[in-house]
């Protein structure tokens, strides 16, 4: 009788373990599926907002060059992958900026967020960014 109780308890424990694992695998799969869809949507939006030349540059160079609206010689290189934005004055990289969205965004949306902030709200973007100076420049941020 005792052996039977032990066997039933073991069977219940095993079933609970299998069910827990199955649920975890399902959650991982769903999260992956969801992230994949978010990535696709972000990529489609990026493709829609960028010009052909900008999108091609992003693929070819791994960054998107965004012109400063306030300084004719300044450009920002927004990386395709997570990383710092390089600030160029002419051909010289003068500093790197670290700016991140509060909360998660798919990679394509992060590139777009940088572009929009630089073009439409540059001073606020610079104010919020952490600046990593690379060059003893005469320009101020």
């Amino acid at each position: 009788m005792e052996a039977l109780i032990v066997l039933v308890a073991l069977a219940i424990g095993l079933a609970a373990l299998v069910l827990g694992l199955a649920l975890r695998v399902a959650a991982w799969t769903w999260r992956g599926f969801d992230a994949g869809r978010a990535h696709q949507r972000a990529e489609a939006l990026l493709r829609e907002v960028l010009t052909d030349a900008e999108y091609a540059q992003l693929g070819r160079c791994g960054y998107l060059e965004v012109r400063s609206p306030s300084r004719p010689t300044r450009t920002y290189r927004v990386p395709r992958r997570p990383g710092r934005v390089a600030v160029h004055e002419g051909d010289v990289e003068i500093e790197a900026l670290c700016v991140v969205p509060v909360g998660r965004l798919p990679p394509g949306d992060i590139v777009l967020a940088h572009k929009l902030m630089i073009e439409g709200n540059e001073q606020e973007y610079l104010r919020l960014a952490n600046h990593f100076r690379l060059w003893p420049v005469f320009w101020s941020a």
Binding site: R41, V49, C98, V100, P101, R104, P106, M117
Partner: protein, 81 residues
């Protein structure tokens, strides 16, 4: 059609309305634009910034909701990393 796109972890969420319908006083279009305006204000209050976008033209920041803006993208709050 005009569109408001709000960036989020799930990709962008879209809210559409018919600009012509608003001018004609179409109730469905008016309801849609009111919903878009509500989302705009709510996200802005949470620190998001809105931009009018068009391919080949620099983005333009929108301080207030513009029902005539054809394509608006809202970027969530950003911070120094």
């Amino acid at each position: 059609m005009a569109i408001l796109r709000v960036l989020s972890a799930a990709g962008d969420t879209q809210y559409e309305w018919d600009v012509g319908g608003i001018e004609r006083g179409d109730p469905e279009a008016l309801a849609a634009v009111r919903e878009a305006e509500r989302i705009f204000s709510e996200r802005q209050a949470r620190g998001a910034t809105a931009f009018r976008v068009a391919p080949g033209r620099p983005a333009e920041r929108l301080e207030t909701f513009d029902p005539q803006a054809e394509h608006v993208v809202m970027v969530p709050r950003v911070a120094g990393g």
